[in-house]
C-alpha cells in the first residue's frame, strides 16, 4: 500500500470541487440544502447541477467531518428546516482548498493554454 506522492487525483478533484462549492456557499450565512442546490445551479448558469441523491449525502459527509454544522430551525405552520453553517475547522479547510484549487486551475490552464 504505497501512497503515490502527487497532487489530487481527478476523482478527488471532482469531489473536492463539490466540497469547495458547498463550503463557499455556507461561508457567509447558514443555508438549507435546497437553497444550496439552487444557488449552485443558478450561479453556474445551469452548468453545475446537484441532484438530491448526491447533494444530501455530501452534506452529511461534510457534517460528519466537522466542517459544516447543521441545525434544525422550526417555524409555525411549516416543516422544520435544517440550516448548515461553516465551522472553524471548515473555514480552514475552505481556505486550503481555495489555494489548492487556484493552483490546480492555473496549472491546467497553463498546460492546456486556456484563457480564463
Amino acid at each position: 500500500m504505497t501512497y503515490i506522492r502527487s497532487g489530487p487525483s481527478g476523482r478527488e478533484l471532482k469531489k473536492g470541487s463539490a466540497e469547495l462549492l458547498i463550503l463557499s456557499l455556507v461561508e457567509d450565512q447558514p443555508r438549507h440544502g435546497y437553497d444550496i442546490g439552487r444557488l449552485i445551479q443558478m450561479r453556474s448558469g445551469g452548468t453545475l447541477k446537484f441532484n438530491v441523491a448526491s447533494l444530501y449525502p455530501l452534506l452529511y459527509r461534510l457534517e460528519k467531518r466537522g466542517w459544516i454544522e447543521g441545525r434544525w430551525v422550526e417555524r409555525a405552520g411549516q416543516r422544520r428546516r435544517r440550516l448548515y453553517r461553516l465551522t472553524t475547522e471548515g473555514r480552514k479547510v475552505l481556505a486550503a482548498q481555495r489555494g489548492g484549487w487556484l493552483a490546480f486551475v492555473r496549472a491546467v490552464s497553463r498546460i492546456a493554454k486556456v484563457e480564463i
Binding site: 500500500m1 466540497e19 438530491v52 449525502p57 452529511y60 482548498q97
Partner: protein
C-alpha cells in the same frame, strides 16, 4: 405540505441508521421536495406534474440509498482530502497498515500460525513459570513497610553462621529489654515467632491455624497497617501470664465477625482458651514470608497461657526466654555490618553482666539476614534458579525461532519488496510495513501466550504443592510485571526480527532481486539460519536429554520398595493435648475415635500411632550391646498400636506385632518393643533377636530401661525414598507422647474418608480439629516435589524446544529448496534422478542435524550437572539416555526433512528453468 414519507422510505431500502437519524433525513428530503414542488407550481406547473418531476430526481435506481449508506454507515476515517490538515494522517496510515498486514497474513496462514504458536509457546510458559517464581520467592512480603531497612536475626551458638548449623538460644524478655536500650544501630527490635494452634469461634469451625507470638512492638517495627482497633500495648508484653488478647487478620475478622470493626472486643479461642480481639491488621499482611499464612498474633507473654504451660519462669526469668527469631529495623544510615558489630559486643556483655543466668550467652551471636524471609528464600533457591533458567532458555529459543521464521519470510518476499521499491515505494514505507506485520504477529501471539500462561500457572502450582489440603486457597496471580517483561522481550524480538530483513533489504540491488530468485543476501541469510537451526537442535537435544534422565529417575524412584504399602492409607492428625487434655483423656479420645471408625464400610484398617511415615521423625538412642564401648545408635522410633503393621502392610519377619494389651502399656511400666531387620542385625548379628533385651532411654531420658524384643519388622523407608535409612524401633502406642494420628486404610475416595473421620471426631469433641488429613502417598510425593517439578518443566521445555527446532529446520529446508529450484532443475535436466535430489536435501538436513546433535550432546554432558543432584538410579552420562535422545533427534529431523525433500523431487526441470 405533501406527505413524502412512503415515497422516500421506499427509496431508502437498505439504509440502517438509528430511527431519530432516519426521521431527520426523511424530514430534510421532504422539505427539499416541498421546495421543488412549490417552485414548479409557482412557475405555473400543475401540482400533480410538479410532484412527479420532483420525485423523478430521486429515481436513479438505488442511487440515494447507496450514497446514504456509504456516508452514514462507513466510519468517517477515510483518507483526508487534499488540503486537509495533516493531523491524524499518521494514525490513519497505521490503521490501514495493520489492516493490510492482517490481509497479507491471512494469505500465508502457515507462516502466521507458526509465528503465533511459537510466540504463545514462549510467552505462555515463561510468564507462568516466572509468575509462580516471583509469587513464591522474589516479591516483597505483602503488608510490610520499607523492607530494605529490615534485618532478620536469629540467636544461637553457631558452628557455621552461613548454613545456620548450630544450637538456637532463646533470649528472655529482660535481656531483650537491655538490648533495646543499649542498641544504637537500630530503631526497633521485635521478636516474631510462629507455630500452630487450634483456632475456633462461633462462625469459625475448629481449625489448625498458623499463629504467631510477638513482642508488643512487632507491628510497629514491621510497619503493618491496622484497619481497626490497636496494636499490642507495652504492658501486654509484661509477664508472666500475659493478657489473653489477639490481633487478627482482616480476612479472619470478616469471616468470623462480618467486618473488621465488628471484630474488636469479640472472642475467639486458641487451643480452646478464650482470647479477645483488640486489633485487625490489613488483609494483605499474613506473616514474614511471601507465602506465610498467619491469621492470628498474640503477645509473647501470653505464650504460657495459650500453650498451657504450668511453669511461667521461661518468661519472667532472665535465664529463660521464648524468642530466638527477631526482626530488626535499622536506624537511618546504619548498615547490617554495623548492627552485627554492635550485637557482637552487646550479647557477650549480657553474659558478663549476668554470669549466672546468661552463662549460655558467652558464645551466643546473632545470625543476621537482610530483609524478610531469607531462610524461606534459601529453601526455594535451587527450585527458583531452575525455574529462571528454564524461563530464560525458553525465551531465547522462542525469540530465535521467531527471528528465524520472520527472516525466512523476508527472504521469500524479497522479490515482492524489490518490485515495490522499483515502483517507487520508499524504503521507510517498506520497513514500516515489515514492522507492522511483526507487531500484528507479536500481539496475537502474546494474547495466545497469556491464555496459555493462565492455564500453565495453575498446573505448575499444583506440581509444586502436591497434597495441599483441598480447601486451601492457593493461586498465585498472573504476575503483571513478569507478563510485561515477557511481552516486551518477545515483541521486541519480533520487531527486531522484522528489522533485520528490512535492513538486509537495503543491500539488495534491485535488478538481481527482481530477476533472480534471490541474491547474495539470501545466501548470507541461509548460513545464518543454518546456524540458528543447528543451535536450536543442539539446545533442544540437551533439554530432552535432561528430561529423559529425569523420566528414568522418576521411574526408579517410584519403583523403590519402601517396605510398606502407602496406597489407600491416609493420615488424620488430632492433638487433644494442645487443648489441655491430660494424657489419660487423650488416650481415651483416640480409642474412642478408633472404635467409632473401625468397621465402617470401606474402612479396612484403622490404626493409631505417634507418627506417620514421611511425616515427621522421632529419634531415639539405643545402646549398642554388640561391643562394650560402642556409642549408642541413633534410630528412628514410632509408638504404634496392634494394627499399625496391618494398616501399612509392613511385614513382620519374626515374632509378632504388639497385642492390644501391649499397645496400652505406658512409660510407667515395662513394655516390649519391635525392631526392624537392620537394627536386629546391628544389635544381635545373625542370632535370633526375639526375647532379647534392648536398652533404651526411660521416660525423662536420664535413666535407661530394658525392653524385650517381641517382633522383627521388615526394613522401611521412614523419611526419604533415597539414601541410607536409620534403623527403626517400634514402641507401644501409649509410650513416648501417646497417639497423635489415625491411619486409615480404605478403598473409599479421600474426600469421603476425611468426611467420615471429621464427623466421628466432631461427635467426640466438636472443638477439636482434625488436621492434615491426606493420603500418605501425598506425603511421599512431597519429597518428590522437586524432582517432579524439574521433570515436568524440563520435559515441557524439551519438547517445546524440539517442536520449535523442527519448525525452524523445516523453514530452512523449504526455503533452501525454493532457492535451489533452478539448480535442481538443471541437475534433473542433466539426468540426475529424483532419488539423488531427495538425498541432496536430506544430506543438507543431516549436516545441520549432525553438527547440532554433536553440539547438543556436548551441551547435555555439561548441562546435566545442573540436575545431577536430582537424579536417582541413573548417572548423568548414562549412554542409553543419550542414545534415546539422539534417536529422537534423528527421527524428528528426518520427519521434518522429508517434506521439503519430496517437494524438491517434484520440481519439473522445465518449470525450474522458467522461474527466472
Amino acid at each position: 405540505m405533501t406527505d413524502w414519507n412512503a415515497e422516500l422510505k421506499s427509496r431508502l431500502a437498505g439504509l440502517t441508521v438509528r430511527p431519530e437519524r432516519e426521521a431527520d433525513i426523511l424530514d430534510e428530503l421532504a422539505q427539499h421536495l416541498d421546495d421543488e414542488v412549490r417552485m414548479r407550481v409557482g412557475g405555473g406547473m400543475d401540482p400533480g406534474a410538479a410532484r412527479l418531476e420532483a420525485l423523478s430526481e430521486l429515481d436513479a435506481p438505488g442511487e440515494l440509498a447507496r450514497r446514504l449508506i456509504e456516508c452514514e454507515t462507513r466510519p468517517p476515517l477515510a483518507l483526508p482530502p487534499p488540503g486537509a490538515p495533516a493531523r491524524g494522517r499518521w494514525f490513519t496510515a497505521r490503521v490501514s497498515d495493520v489492516r493490510y498486514s492482517i490481509r497479507t497474513l491471512r494469505r500465508s496462514p502457515a507462516f502466521a500460525l507458526t509465528v503465533i504458536i511459537t510466540l504463545a509457546l514462549t510467552i505462555g510458559p515463561t510468564t507462568a513459570i516466572l509468575s509462580v517464581g516471583n509469587w513464591l520467592v522474589w516479591r516483597p512480603v505483602p503488608g510490610v513497610r520499607d523492607q530494605g531497612q529490615l534485618v532478620e536475626a536469629q540467636t544461637g551458638q553457631w558452628k557455621d553462621k552461613n548454613t545456620g548449623d548450630g544450637t538456637i538460644v532463646s533470649v528472655s524478655y529482660l535481656n531483650l529489654r537491655d538490648l533495646r536500650e543499649a542498641g544504637q544501630t537500630f530503631v526497633g527490635l521485635a521478636g516474631v515467632q510462629e507455630s500452630n494452634a487450634h483456632l475456633a469461634g462461633d462462625a469459625i469451625p475448629p481449625t489448625d491455624a498458623t499463629v504467631s507470638w510477638v513482642t508488643a512492638d512487632a507491628f510497629d517495627v514491621l510497619g503493618v497497617p491496622f484497619v481497626a482497633g490497636r496494636s499490642f500495648l507495652p504492658e501486654e508484653d509484661a509477664g508472666p501470664s500475659g493478657s489473653p488478647v489477639m490481633v487478627v487478620n482482616e480476612d479472619l475478622a470478616e469471616r468470623a465477625f462480618g467486618s473488621a470493626s465488628g471484630a474488636i472486643g469479640q472472642r475467639l479461642t486458641l487451643n480452646g482458651l478464650p482470647m479477645t480481639v483488640v486489633g485487625v491488621v490489613a488483609s494483605r499482611f499474613h506473616g514474614l514470608t511471601p507465602t506465610s499464612f498467619v491469621d492470628v498474633w498474640y503477645p509473647v507473654s501470653t505464650y504460657a497461657y495459650v500453650n498451657r504451660f504450668s511453669d511461667p519462669s521461661r518468661f519472667i526469668n532472665r535465664g529463660g526466654g521464648l524468642l530466638s527469631s527477631f526482626v530488626i529495623r535499622l536506624a537511618p544510615g546504619k548498615t547490617m555490618q554495623a548492627l552485627q558489630a554492635e550485637l557482637d559486643v552487646l550479647l557477650p556483655a549480657l553474659a558478663e553482666r549476668y554470669p549466672d543466668e546468661n552463662k549460655d550467652f558467652r558464645a551466643v551471636s546473632a545470625r543476621l539476614r537482610p530483609g524478610l524471609g531469607s531462610a524461606y528464600r534459601d529453601r526455594s533457591a535451587s527450585m527458583v534458579s531452575t525455574l529462571v533458567t528454564i524461563g530464560a532458555v525458553l525465551l531465547v529459543l522462542g525469540c530465535a525461532n521467531v527471528a528465524n521464521v520472520l527472516m525466512l519470510r523476508a527472504v521469500r518476499t524479497a522479490r515482492e519488496r524489490a518490485i515495490r521499491l522499483a515502483l517507487g515505494a520508499s524504503r521507510a514505507r517498506l520497513v514500516a510495513l515489515q514492522l507492522t506485520e511483526s507487531a500484528v504477529l507479536a500481539v496475537t501471539g502474546a494474547l495466545a501466550g497469556v491464555a496459555l500462561a493462565l492455564w500453565l500457572k495453575q498446573l505448575i502450582a499444583t506440581l509444586l504443592f502436591p497434597g495441599v489440603p483441598e480447601d486451601f486457597d492457593f493461586g498465585p496471580p498472573l504476575d503483571l510485571t513478569v507478563l510485561a517483561m515477557t511481552l516486551g522481550v518477545s515483541v521486541a524480538c519480533g520487531l527486531l526480527a522484522g528489522f533485520v530483513p528490512a535492513l538486509l533489504n537495503r543491500g539488495v540491488a534491485l535488478h538481481p532481486a527482481v530477476t533472480a530468485a534471490g541474491g547474495r543476501s539470501v545466501t548470507i541469510g541461509r548460513r545464518l539460519r543454518g546456524v540458528l537451526a543447528g543451535a536450536q537442535l543442539a539446545l533442544s537435544l540437551a533439554l530432552v536429554t535432561g528430561s529423559l534422565l529425569l523420566v528414568a529417575t522418576m521411574q526408579r524412584l517410584h519403583a523403590v520398595d519402601l517396605g510398606f504399602d502407602p496406597t489407600g492409607v491416609s493420615q488424620h492428625l488430632v492433638n487433644p493435648r494442645r487443648q489441655g487434655y491430660p494424657a489419660v483423656r487423650a488416650a481415651a479420645y483416640f480409642s474412642d475415635l478408633q472404635a467409632r471408625l473401625t468397621g465402617r464400610s470401606g474402612f479396612d484398617v484403622v490404626s493409631l500411632a505417634g507418627l506417620t511415615p514421611f511425616g515427621s521423625s522421632f529419634r531415639m538412642r539405643v545402646q549398642d550391646s554388640s561391643g562394650p564401648d560402642r556409642p549408642p545408635l541413633s534410630v528412628n522410633a514410632n509408638n504404634v498400636d496392634s494394627r499399625y503393621f496391618d494398616a501399612l502392610r509392613i511385614k513382620i519377619v519374626r515374632g509378632r506385632a504388639f497385642t492390644e494389651a501391649e499397645a496400652r502399656l505406658d512409660e510407667t511400666v515395662d513394655y516390649p518393643v519391635i525392631i526392624d531387620q537392620s537394627l536386629a542385625r546391628r544389635l544381635f548379628g545373625d542370632s535370633d533377636p526375639i526375647g532379647r533385651l534392648v536398652v533404651i532411654p526411660a521416660a525423662g531420658r536420664s535413666t535407661l530401661r530394658r525392653a524385650p524384643v517381641v517382633g522383627v519388622a521388615a526394613d522401611t523407608h521412614w523419611n526419604s525414598i533415597v539414601g541410607d535409612q536409620l534403623p527403626f524401633i517400634y514402641t507401644p502406642l501409649a509410650t513416648i507422647q501417646g497417639a497423635s494420628v489415625a491411619l486409615v486404610r480404605s478403598r473409599l475416595p479421600m474426600r469421603a474418608v476425611t468426611e467420615t473421620v471429621r464427623a466421628a471426631a466432631r461427635e467426640i469433641d466438636p472443638t477439636l480439629p482434625v488436621r492434615l488429613s491426606m493420603p500418605v502417598e501425598n506425603l511421599i510425593d512431597r519429597r518428590l516435589a522437586q524432582q517432579r517439578v524439574f521433570f515436568w518443566m524440563l520435559s515441557l521445555l524439551g519438547w517445546i524446544a524440539f517442536a520449535l527446532a523442527a519448525v525452524g529446520l523445516y523453514g530452512l529446508l523449504a526455503q533452501s529448496v525454493t532457492e535451489r529450484t533452478r539448480e535442481f532443475g538443471v541437475r534433473m535436466a542433466l539426468g540426475s534422478g529424483r532419488g539423488r535430489i531427495f538425498a541432496l536435501v536430506l544430506r543438507y538436513a543431516a549436516w545441520i542435524a549432525g553438527l547440532g546433535g554433536l553440539a547438543g550432546l556436548g551441551l547435555a554432558a555439561w548441562g546435566t550437572r545442573l540436575i545431577e543432584t536430582q537424579l536417582y538410579g541413573v548417572t548423568r552420562l548414562d549412554p542409553m539416555i543419550y542414545a534415546a535422545a539422539t534417536l529422537a533427534l534423528i527421527v524428528i529431523v528426518f520427519a521434518t526433512a522429508i517434506w521439503p525433500a519430496r517437494s524438491a523431487t517434484r520440481i519439473q526441470p522445465i518449470d525450474a528453468l522458467r522461474t527466472d
